[in-house]
């Protein structure tokens, strides 16, 4: 099954480009560390999922590029083409000239309806190019105007036009200390709207990735390109082919569907966080060795202690004692309660890895069976030159604090009515804001009371 990626706004298009580059580079690599047959199967599966191999010499990404100004798309198209390894279709992009001005209302109320037909035509074309459509993956930031506002509108259109398809929104959360002054307003509006039309929100926070770049990747002068490459690596580690949980020799055919099924059992809980281990500079790889027990132990503690990466983990945090019924208010501080988790293992000896520690019922809320709350996907094919790597996609309290912080700051600004005239000018009124705040406070409350 194939996934159609929709890249929205500057962030979405910059990241999208890095994702396709990473996927392509991974399948071309000769470091699969597995049998030739396995490797070929992996490559075929990846290509079917993300690329189209029609008449052209290089794989063509299954993507629709949307932006309200031309420079970023233009760059993405030319960088892909000049790589010689893959490219975007020349007819899969839509752009305008004037931008959205970081104004969610402009993106949602003005650009959305105005350009709906043109954008959805492109999506339809791309969807029809798939033998079997496995769903949509949208990439957007929630801080600006296009990715956030137009992105929310497009997601709704996707839902309306493809009611039975899966939609996963990849949302980038901006740096806490500002890239855009009205980012918290744009974020509140985006998240509340996505909650109604999307199946799941997979989140990356710039602050977290920045730390990974600084402390794990040892990059001195971190650029957005560096950040985006780490994000692309993490996404690749989730979406490259794997064997399904139940075993079986073929690669899983329905990654988005499987993801939603395992991780989003209840519509109130859609926020998914992502962690990856190990993460290090490429030139350190040949000198490092890993053991699965070590990786799994770290990953589990990252989950429990809500650590952002494998350094600085708080090992003191422990799950609550089993057997006793504990009201959520008495749970140990800093303990991250999960609804559902998915671990993805890639590389050498994956089938021997013991993941029992992730099935510990004390990690989870009581309303799902631990067998249903935890799933694992595996493949012996190593990813991106890492001999062994593990990814965790988690529906847990990972994002509770950042979400609460964003809503708090937005509310603080809203109470002073600052910037509201910029939104009402384009059709978003105070009552609309209030509805969005209510939706998100509800989400915060739900996650808090796990």
């Amino acid at each position: 099954m194939s996934i159609v990626t929709v890249q929205l706004g500057q962030c979405g298009n910059q990241i999208g480009h890095e994702v396709f580059s990473a996927l392509c580079s991974d399948i071309r690599g000769t470091h699969g560390l597995c049998s030739k047959k396995e490797n070929e199967s992996y490559q075929d599966s990846c290509k079917e999922r993300f690329f189209c191999e029609e008449e052209s010499a290089v794989p063509v990404a299954r993507a629709v590029l949307v932006d309200m100004e031309p420079k970023v798309i233009s760059q993405a198209l030319s960088m892909a083409a000049s790589s010689g390894l893959w490219k975007y279709s020349s007819r899969s992009h839509f752009c305008q000239k004037q931008g959205s001005g970081n104004n969610w209302a402009n993106g949602y109320c003005v650009h959305g309806p105005r350009h709906k037909e043109a954008i959805m035509d492109l999506v339809q074309t791309e969807a029809e190019r798939c033998d079997r459509l496995g769903g949509f993956f949208t990439i957007m930031s929630m801080a600006g105007g296009t990715g956030s506002g137009l992105g929310a509108f497009v997601t709704q259109c996707l839902r309306d036009a493809f009611p039975t398809s899966f939609i996963l929104n990849h949302v980038i959360w901006p740096y806490g200390t500002g890239e855009v002054i009205v980012q918290n307003y744009n974020s509140v509006l985006t998240l509340s709207h996505l909650y109604h039309s999307s199946d799941g929100l997979l989140v990356h926070e710039n602050d977290v990735i920045h730390k990974i770049c600084a402390q794990l990747m040892n990059i001195k002068q971190i650029s957005f390109r560096d950040v985006n490459q780490v994000i692309a690596h993490q996404l690749g580690s989730v979406f490259q082919p794997t064997h399904p949980a139940g075993g079986g020799s073929g690669y899983s055919r329905n990654p988005l569907g499987d993801l939603m099924e395992t991780l989003v059992p209840h519509p109130e809980f859609r926020m998914l966080g992502l962690r990856n281990i190990p993460q290090m500079p490429e030139n350190s790889l040949p000198y490092s060795t890993f053991s699965w027990p070590g990786l799994i132990k770290h990953l589990r503690q990252m989950l429990i202690a809500n650590a952002q990466m494998e350094e600085g983990i708080d090992w003191q945090v422990r799950p609550p004692q089993p057997g006793s019924s504990i009201p959520s208010t008495n749970k140990p501080l800093h303990f991250n309660t999960s609804i559902a988790n998915l671990v993805i293992l890639r590389g050498k000896d994956v089938h021997s890895v013991d993941l029992g520690s992730f099935q510990d019922p004390s990690l989870y809320t009581s309303w799902l069976n631990p067998q249903d709350a935890f799933n694992a996907w595996r493949t012996p094919r190593a990813f991106n030159r890492y001999e062994k790597s593990a990814a965790l996609v988690s529906n847990s309290q990972f994002l509770l604090k950042p979400l609460d912080s964003i809503v708090g700051k937005a509310w603080n600004m809203f109470a002073s009515k600052a910037y509201l005239h910029q939104y009402t000018k384009f059709g978003i009124q105070e009552e609309d804001f209030l509805d969005c705040f209510t939706t998100l406070e509800q989400v915060i409350s739900s996650y808090t009371n796990l």
Binding site: Q10, Q14, E69, P70, K71, V72, S74, Q75, Q96, K97, Q98, G99, S100, G101, N102, N103, G145, Y175, G176, T177, G178, E179, V180, I181, V182, H210, C213, A214, I219, K220, Q221, I222, S223, F224, R225, V227, V407, G408, K409, W411, N412, M413, A415, S416, K417, A418, Y419, H421, Q422, F437, T438, E441, Q442, I444, S445, N449
Partner: protein, 474 residues
């Protein structure tokens, strides 16, 4: 997306002239292949002159003849004629000029009411023609001074026209405010009358004061002469001179001062024209820096003002650029943002600067700055990959800060001094359409604005009480 500058009056056109010169040089430095690209099209049209001067527009391919997208308006001919005889003569054609002979006599009313009325149709027609050639018109820039008659009066009349004819296009105004020692006695009248128009019809105003420009120019001159740190001013540094020679600073101070304002406009539009990892368009500036409609006055600073001899500047020099952007003597008006209250701040960086450099400096400088309680992280940032000619990186800071207040208060004081004695009022009142109420409304508008800043200042340093959040029934 196109930005359309209007230069109105003597000051406006002198700055405008510098601006077009620098814009051409900037694009020439970047555009090596001579292809007419998206970046060029934001300021210039490409004409096929083989069909005469009114040739058709060429949208792609090689550069044939560039024409500036602009309107030059002056009620005297001197400055505009000089432009038309100078090196920029081929960049403009007569259809973009609106001139008269006698000037406005430093009288806002003459500029606004008399010439406004007289030239309204002409201006609208030329405006519409110019707009027709634009694929996507995003923003108008008005460049003018506040203290005279044409720039101030006719300039604000044009502002009104723009709002009527193209309500959706942003209106940015670069206004040169008169100093206390301004030799035009009625400059306070002209400025306050113009202020009312700016309050009501501009989206963003960038106030500039000649004193600040002069001080900055002197500082650069001192740096050259002192040979400090072995620094030399590169011949082609666009900040200091038009002729390429730093020695001309003393001879033609206005040229150097106008260069600074021209650079301000270039840097402001750089991220809209050139690529970068975090683009910042003009409509984003308006969106992020104007929390309430009338509080749209932005204090600007440009750093560094000199080039250093070495191109690979180590990080700490980079950090110095950020520090300087907040210092009192780098602001383009006489103001000290550090000791006043920030409502919002934008940083537009050009050149080889990455997001980590930006973050490091914001973290470092934040503690010494006061931000309003509802906007503690009020930073808007942009990264443009292309540096200005002659520099490896540069920073433009725009602050919505209560430090503009003293400028307005002084203006009000100077106005009142004249107004109380009814000095020179008859020159204005004899103009058709002018009444005493124009003056009282104008000063009232200014007073209200000052009061809004006062109210904000009163909140500074006060206790921070976050409003309570919505409660959800569990």
């Amino acid at each position: 997306a196109v930005s359309l500058p209007f230069a109105v009056g003597q000051c406006g056109n002198q700055v405008g002239c510098r601006f077009w010169d620098l814009a051409l040089r900037e694009h020439a430095a970047v555009n090596k292949k001579g292809i007419y690209d998206e970046a060029l099209s934001s300021f210039f049209r490409n004409i096929d002159t083989r069909s005469g001067d009114n040739g058709p527009d060429i949208y792609k391919g090689k550069i044939c003849s560039l024409k500036a997208r602009a309107l030059l308006i002056d009620m005297e001919e001197g400055v505009v004629n000089e432009i038309l005889q100078g090196p920029l003569r081929d960049v403009f054609d007569s259809k973009q000029l609106i001139t008269d002979v006698s000037g406005s006599g430093n009288n806002w009313a003459v500029g606004h009411k008399i010439y406004g009325c007289q030239y309204q149709e002409n201006i609208v027609e030329k405006l519409r023609k110019t707009a027709e050639h634009c694929d996507c018109l995003q923003c108008f820039f008005i460049i003018h001074s506040m203290g005279g008659g044409t720039g101030s009066g006719l300039g604000t009349f044009v502002l009104n026209l723009l709002e009527e004819e193209f309500p959706e296009v942003y209106r940015f105004v670069t206004s040169v405010y008169p100093s206390g020692e301004d030799d035009v006695i009625t400059s306070p009248y002209n400025s306050v009358l113009a202020m009312k128009e700016l309050n009501e019809h501009a989206d963003c105003v960038l106030p500039i004061e000649n004193e600040s420009l002069f001080e900055i120019v002197n500082k650069i001159h001192q740096m050259i002469n002192s040979g400090k740190l072995g620094s030399t001013v590169k011949q082609n540094s666009l900040v200091t001179s038009s002729a390429g020679s730093a020695k001309t600073l003393q001879e033609k101070p206005f040229d150097a001062m106008n260069n600074i304002v021209a650079n301000l406009l270039l840097n402001l539009t750089s991220s809209a024209r050139f690529e970068g990892s975090l683009n910042m368009d003009l409509n984003e500036i308006s969106m992020n820096l104007v929390p309430f409609p009338r509080l749209h006055y932005l204090v600007s600073s440009l750093t560094p003002l000199y080039t250093l001899a070495d191109v690979n500047v180590p990080s700490r020099r980079l950090d110095q650029m950020f520090s300087d952007a907040f210092s009192r003597d780098h602001q383009l008006i006489q103001a000290d943002p550090k000791h006043s209250l920030y409502l919002a701040c934008a940083l537009l960086v050009r050149g080889n600067v990455q997001v980590s450099d930006l973050r490091r400096n914001i973290e470092r400088l934040k503690p010494s700055l006061h931000f309003v309680s509802w906007n503690q992280e009020g930073w808007k940032t942009g990264l443009c990959s292309v540096p200005p000619v002659g520099h490896s990186h540069s920073l433009l800071a725009l602050a919505n800060n209560t430090c503009v207040k003293p400028t307005f208060i002084e203006l009000k004081d100077r106005f009142m001094k004249l107004y109380k004695k009814k000095a020179h009022l008859h020159h204005y009142l004899r103009v058709d359409g002018m009444e005493q109420s124009c003056f009282s409304e104008a000063i009232s508008s200014l007073s209200d604005l000052i009061e809004e800043y006062n109210e904000l200042d009163a909140t500074k340093g006060g206790p921070r009480i976050d409003p309570s959040r919505l409660k959800i029934a569990v």
